[in-house]
């Protein structure tokens, strides 16, 4: 905590890839990406580790590669987690203002935040994040900072993300077993949204959908704060699996077919009726019906968006998203996926770009690394907050000691 290294490492153990991203903060607090380690992932399904031995191997390789590229030694990481068990809800805390003149002080704010954090979680779940939203003073909403205002009743909304304790700790235990410290466990969707959204977009209202290999994470911002988040345990793996069974292919063939020739919409009438898989020498060794292939894939991708749309509609948020939808993750590479999403959700859809970070352009431009970039940003943000707190603590210490000595 006191050491001077300003290296922040984000580690994402995903279903299709393991990714370790090394970032460096400079004096002004800006973050530069200086290293990237990426390995195909094994032993991870639907975002959760089911074969620790194989997963550990992949993580180790990724860390080593990142260390080489950044020329640093990695000691601690911010670990990204996901899984179908992760749930979220909004909690409201209330605190009556006691002071005689009804002025809200920072103690009141601390009290109301503490009240809002008093939540009942299911027995086997533990807290992942509590994110403070806006305050309410006497029922008036969207107060960003009530200190100094007058009011009788102070309330605050908190967005709570929680997950199954054991499954969250699985990943952490794996990392700790490699002599790495886990600074914090972060929800992947939250990280992706930090990487991808600008404050303006958060203010207008936006949803970030991370189309990953094992899961699809989504996070909704309304009026600048997180309002809703969720995980759908369906991802690119399911598309590949559908193709394996629909077209009688092997896993590898289906994966290649999906990546090289896939699309989110069914085949257009002008396309050729067949699609050929080529072997190593470039000779076509399997010819498949394009319409079947594209139908199977389009139907699955459409279902993913439909399920998300249903969840957003149930939460009553579809009307508040002026900035639209931002897609990241490997699935954002699917041709015309934005058009399909626009059709299903009836919201403008864009492919997300990670911004406000310098460094490896190759990493920043690819949608798969949005989560890892977000983890680094999260780490940087946390460290800045801590430094400020330490700074003020050091300052007050100096003042007290100084007073002492002056005596």
């Amino acid at each position: 905590m006191f050491d001077a290294t300003n290296i922040i490492v984000g580690l994402e153990i995903g279903t299709s890839k393991v990714c370790a991203l090394v970032g460096e903060t400079n004096a002004e607090g800006a973050v530069n990406i200086i290293g990237l380690g990426q390995q195909p992932s094994h032993g991870v399904r639907k975002g959760e580790i089911i074969e620790p031995a194989r997963a550990e191997e992949a993580v180790r390789r990724a860390i080593v590669e990142a260390e080489h590229m950044a020329d640093v030694e990695i000691g601690s990481v911010y670990l990204g987690v996901t899984g179908g068990h992760i749930r979220s809800f909004n909690n409201r805390g209330m605190h009556p203002v006691c002071s005689a003149d009804r002025e809200i002080t920072s103690e009141d704010v601390e009290d109301v935040v503490k009240n809002a954090k008093a939540i009942n979680l299911p027995a086997d779940h533990s807290l992942l994040h509590t994110i403070r939203q806006d305050f309410l003073v006497d029922g008036q909403e969207r107060i960003p900072d009530p200190v100094g205002m007058l009011g009788a009743r102070l309330e605050v909304d908190m967005h709570v993300i929680h997950g199954n304790t054991n499954r969250l700790q699985n990943a952490a235990r794996l990392v700790k077993g490699m002599q790495l410290e886990v600074e914090e466990i972060v929800f992947n969707g939250l990280a992706a949204s930090l990487a991808v959204l600008t404050p303006e977009q958060k203010e207008l209202g936006a949803v970030v959908i991370d189309l990953g290999g094992g899961t699809t994470d989504y996070v909704v911002y309304v009026h600048g704060h997180i309002r809703h988040s969720g995980v759908l345990a369906v991802g690119g793996d399911h598309i590949t699996n559908d193709l394996v069974h629909g077209l009688r292919l092997s896993q590898a063939d289906a994966e290649e077919l999906k990546v090289k020739h896939g699309g989110a919409l069914p085949a257009a009438p002008g396309d050729s009726p067949t699609v050929a898989l080529c072997d190593g020498a470039g000779r076509p060794h399997k010819v498949l019906n394009r319409e079947h292939f594209r139908t199977i894939m389009a139907v699955r991708v459409e279902e993913i968006f439909q399920l998300i749309a249903q969840d957003l509609e149930d939460a009553g948020l579809l009307g508040d998203l002026a900035a639209g939808v931002f897609l990241c993750g490997g699935g954002a590479r699917i041709p015309e996926v934005a058009r399909l999403c626009e059709r299903v959700l009836s919201l403008p859809t864009f492919l997300a770009r990670a911004g406000s970070l310098g460094g490896l352009k190759s990493a920043l431009d690819q949608p798969e690394f949005a989560t890892a970039i977000g983890l680094v940003k999260y780490g940087a943000f946390k460290q800045r907050k801590q430094a400020r707190r330490m700074g003020s603590l050091a300052q007050s210490l100096r003042q007290t000691v100084g007073q002492f000595l002056r005596f």
């Binding site: 399904r45 639907k46 959760e48 089911i50 074969e51 179908g84 759908l232 345990a233 369906v234 793996d237 399911h238 590949t240 699996n241 559908d242 394996v244 069974h245 629909g246 896993q251 019906n289 319409e291 079947h292 139908t295 199977i296 139907v299 699955r300 279902e303 399920l307």
Partner: protein
Amino acid sequence: MNPASDLRFPGLETRIKVIGIGGAGARIVERVWRRELPGLAYAVINTDAPPPSPVPNVCWLDVRRRPARGAAPTGRAGGPTALDEHAPTLRGFVEGTDVIFLVAGLGGMTGTELAPPVAQLARETGARVLAFVVTPFPCESTRRQQLARSGLAALRAAADGVLCLPNEALGKILAPDTRLTEAFRRSDDLLVEGLCGVWRLLTRSGPLEIHLADLCAQLGGPDTENALATAEAAGPDRARDLVTQLNAHPVFDQGTMLDGAESILVSFVGSEDLTMAQIQQVMELVHNRCGQTPVSLGAALDPALTERLTVTVISTRCGRTTPASPTDRSTRPAAETVPAAGPDVEVDHELVGSPTRVAESSGGTTVAVNARPRAGASPPARKMAPRLRQVALPLDIQAKSRFDKSEPTLHKGQNLDQPTYIRRRMVLN
């Protein structure tokens, strides 16, 4: 026609007549006639002589071929001729009707032969034709099943809508030691109930009416497959009993009838105290099974049904026929390999269905597999084609093999690990 006050606007009520064709048709028409449903007239087209004393409201057509002396009543080329003689009578009967309910058992001779032409004739006179047919039990011979299939296809083209009761669905509810006559009676039961259900749907008036045109629009089309299930319950808890009964219905089959349906029609007919809650309770069953499918709802009141509630559910599926049963699949390849095996070998396959179904036919219809090469024509060393039996692919089990070790993703009763195109019953051809 009885000017019953519970029918829809007197003078505009739907005029329905029932025509039964063949042995099965005649049997079923007799049972419907016994129920004395108001406003129906009946005709029977069969190879039996009419009953000695005229039966009220029933017109009898004997289609036996004149020079019949032990020969089959309608030979391959003789069917249409037999009908031509009676065409004027038939036309007279059908004249002025709105709907004809055609009832026949497919697979035999009379019903299969005559149902499509009768349907055609009836349509020509301007009536809509709804056919209620049964298909053979799985243990009945392959030839009957083939005939049934071709008859069904012809009927689909000729009639406005075909509601088929597959007898193999009864396999689930019949005990292994059921007598053959009992099995046929149960099959008749289901068809009679279904017919009465549709009659009620069309004739009883109420707040939500289903019109003939809508019904035909849903059922019609050359490639549609319709399934019909009726249930009735009485007493204070009738909604709940109705749900139980519907689930136990062999065609409804706990709701598998609704899977993959393109559209569903549900019609309630009850006493005057029919409540929303009762309808809701039964509709929940439908919505849980398939939230996305369009459902037409009808609700009618019949003062005769005191304290009773009946529901008729019709589900329509489009496109190719559902994956055939094991016996069905195997008949086609067998038929195709016969010429391939060589002209000298006459192979007579009578395939056995799954073991449970064999047990049902305890009434004495033995089934055997024979292969009789014509005497002396071929070398005796030539073996018969192996018995082809293709079982249904275990798609359910294989489809989530990659996700075996992880927890299945369940969402509102669906397993999302299963491929979406399979769950939505999309046909890829």
